[in-house]
Amino acid sequence: MSVMSSPSQPSPAGTGGLVPAPIRPAAIDLSCRLPLVVLFLSAGMWLLAASAFGLIASIKFHAPGFLADCAWLTYGRVRPAGSDALLYGFSMQAGLGVALWMLARLGRTTLAAPWLVIDGALCWNLGVAAGLFGILTGGSTGFENLEMPAYAAVLIFLGYLMIAVWGAITFHRRRERQLFVSQWFLFAALFWFPWIYSTANLLLLGFRVRGMAQAVIAWWYSDNLLVVWLGLVGLAAIFYFVPKLTSRELHSRYLALLTFWMLILFGSWGGIPASAPVPAWIPVLSAVATVLGVVTIIAVALNVRGTLQGKCSKLMGHPSLQFIGFGLIAFIVSGAASAATAFAGVNQITQFTWFTVARDFLNSYGFFSMVIFGAIYYIVPQLIGLEFPSSKLVRVHFWTAATGTLLFVVPLAVGGIAQGLKLQQANIPFTDVARGTLPFLRASTLGDLLIGLGHLMFLANLGGLVIGFYQARAVSAWVEATTEIKPAEARP
């Protein structure tokens, strides 16, 4: 592995002599196989749910009366159900799978307690299912990105702990003492989520704080999840896969260190909108931190550019790299948009518009989900030892997903700016402003459709591979079990 320092180097930790020999990649993959297949397959299932809900929500802008008689499918319920299915069902679950694999591979050790990780995954999925049921039946908490009711939150929290603890133990048991940059990001991410999730749930659903303090904590949680957690795991994957798949060394460890520090120090202070009706120091501090986030973006961009030595066309060479390259660009653009909208003058126009939706989607889907798709397309064949049934479908998925994301984000961003400019002119009636956004929203439905189509391709390929593999194993086991014992062998 070119990204690793040579194992023969003396370890700076001074324990080099005591560390047992590294384990072969094939053995590591074998230990990861079943838990990761469970995590990735169930994540793929939630993608379908997310697409279905997203599409229903989108169609309501074509016909407001669509499914209006069904309380479960009203806009204010399907929209959070769709975004939570994407965030908790797919992004975090698949992200955890990718994180476990990277921790095991980089530590050159087997995954600790694979069966307990599977239990954790089951608990997590039960939690997501319960949460979506809660949202659809009207049990939403009312806080964006934290809609799942308390009973689901408990399951999700436990499921996360059961997965993350074994991730941390795998990290602890590493047989390669020299840490690669991705390991910093992943280790920090592992315990970031339990802290923010428990804080948010305890203070918003358990021992409720009063008044606007609730909203501030909800914004803090959203930002720490969408910017920091997704950022940590997504960037870990970028720093791991870009050098690995292009067979180069990571350009600079120090730039990566800068990225790490900026992300955890300033990323965690963002997220409070400039217009929030709270004491002014809160949004001002948040805006400063968000603008400083530009340093994170620049450091990542320089590092990847240095790694590729300026030949960015290399990103098109491998299907996984296509996804990761797209994710990288989306990370840069959405980060720049966040920094721009942190300024009060720009925020005055973009606040409360579809622009913010486009910006956040570009981060959570365009960046994170795309990087994770790329990682899964690389990891699963390694785990199983077979190629995907259709490598063509992988490429088609990339182009569908990329076009879909653009078709979703660009109309909403443009429509959002137009909406914001019109909202500034009080003489334009509000109904006209709202109707003015409809063509853009309807165009974005096309993006929703393409993204959903991509999800079908992803699941078909992944499911096909896994089913094919286990079917072959079952068949061979059956054949082995039912082979007639030849008399010659039976003779003593």
């Binding site: 929209r79 920090a188 009063r210 709270v278």
Partner: protein
């Protein structure tokens, strides 16, 4: 960075700092807010807890995700000062002369002081002295404190009495979505707090002040396009029950215009959730003057600034009001 514990400490320190900044400190500052007094004359406590039925409506608002389309945050871009005449005084000729002088100043420096009526109208009114009718009223608007003070001083020198009125301004306020910016106090008794992040629909911070008729809201929830032409809002028919009329029609049944009416023998009755939601919407008004969001209410409007003021039933401001009269 080759040690696990070092990474743990780095991340711990970073998250702890943000936790202290955006969880602990806001809780100490905003979470401990108490009821306060409204600013200006006739101070009352603010805010007042929502009545029980409206509080149930907040739960309906949360359950159905209304906050995904509606914000409850009015913004303001600044404040201006109105120069209001409260008393014409005994020497009306001198007052009118001073006013005309101010009108002249407003043509010279329109950026600093602006007349609230066209100059010709002021001159015409001044000649027959109707300018001084209907006091107190705001006559000029100024962007600087100094100019406003000078104008008040000039008017007070003539035996007339003038005042400064604080007027918050901004596109949201110009749309009639409120009188001042939203502040943290407005949400003191709400839980869950849902300030919203989108304006797919209009801001609702003061919807109870704009539209105090609960029946209007019920019909709007059932058929939004009936009440607001061209609305993009989906109907919430599942909050209502369409049923056969039993012995006599329910007094709560919605009253539709003829072309929308249900088949004869049927009526549409709001369910408990719909009624609670309408009560909550009617209760939504955050327009009391506060010390951290000051404004001067014109005397006529100052009487009903309490959040909890009962909705003025039957206040006719829509075309559908007549259709909303109780069923015969």
């Amino acid at each position: 960075m080759n040690y696990g514990p070092l990474i743990f400490l780095a991340a711990f320190f970073a998250l702890a700092s943000s936790w202290c900044g955006f969880v602990l400190t806001p809780q100490l500052q905003i979470g401990r807010l108490q009821q306060t007094n409204t600013a200006g004359s006739g101070a009352t406590t603010y805010p007042v807890a929502r009545p029980g039925f409206a509080h149930q409506g907040l739960e309906v608002y949360r359950a159905n995700g209304c906050a995904y389309c509606h914000s409850q945050q009015v913004g303001q871009t600044g404040t201006l000062l109105d120069i209001a005449l409260t008393d014409a005084g005994t020497n009306q000729a001198a007052t009118i002369a001073a006013l005309l002088k101010l009108a002249e100043a407003s043509t010279n420096q329109p950026a600093v002081i602006a007349a609230l009526a066209p100059l010709e109208a002021i001159r015409a009114n001044a000649s027959d002295a109707t300018l001084l009718n209907g006091l107190p009223k705001a006559l000029f608007r100024s962007s600087t404190r100094a100019a406003a003070n000078a104008a008040v001083k000039a008017l007070n020198a003539t035996s007339a009495k003038a005042q400064l009125w604080i007027v918050p301004v901004g596109p949201d306020l110009a749309r009639g979505w409120g009188r001042r910016r939203t502040v943290a106090e407005d949400f003191l008794f709400d839980s869950s707090v849902m300030p919203g992040s989108q304006r797919v629909g209009p801001d609702l911070a003061n919807v109870g002040a704009r539209q105090p008729d609960a029946n209007w809201h019920l019909l709007h929830l059932y058929a939004p396009q009936l009440q607001v032409k061209g609305s993009t809002m989906p109907p919430y028919r599942f909050l209502f029950e369409k049923r056969q009329i039993k012995l006599r029609p329910s007094p709560e049944a919605l009253v539709f215009p003829a072309e929308m009416a249900p088949a004869s023998g049927y009526e549409v009755v709001p369910g408990p959730a719909a009624k609670a939601l309408a009560a909550y919407l009617v209760n939504l008004r955050a327009d009391a003057p506060l010390f951290n969001a000051p404004m001067t209410l014109p005397a006529a409007a100052a009487t009903s600034n309490a959040t909890n003021a009962p909705a003025a039933q039957g206040m006719t401001s829509t075309n559908a009001d007549t259709a909303n009269a109780p069923a015969k």
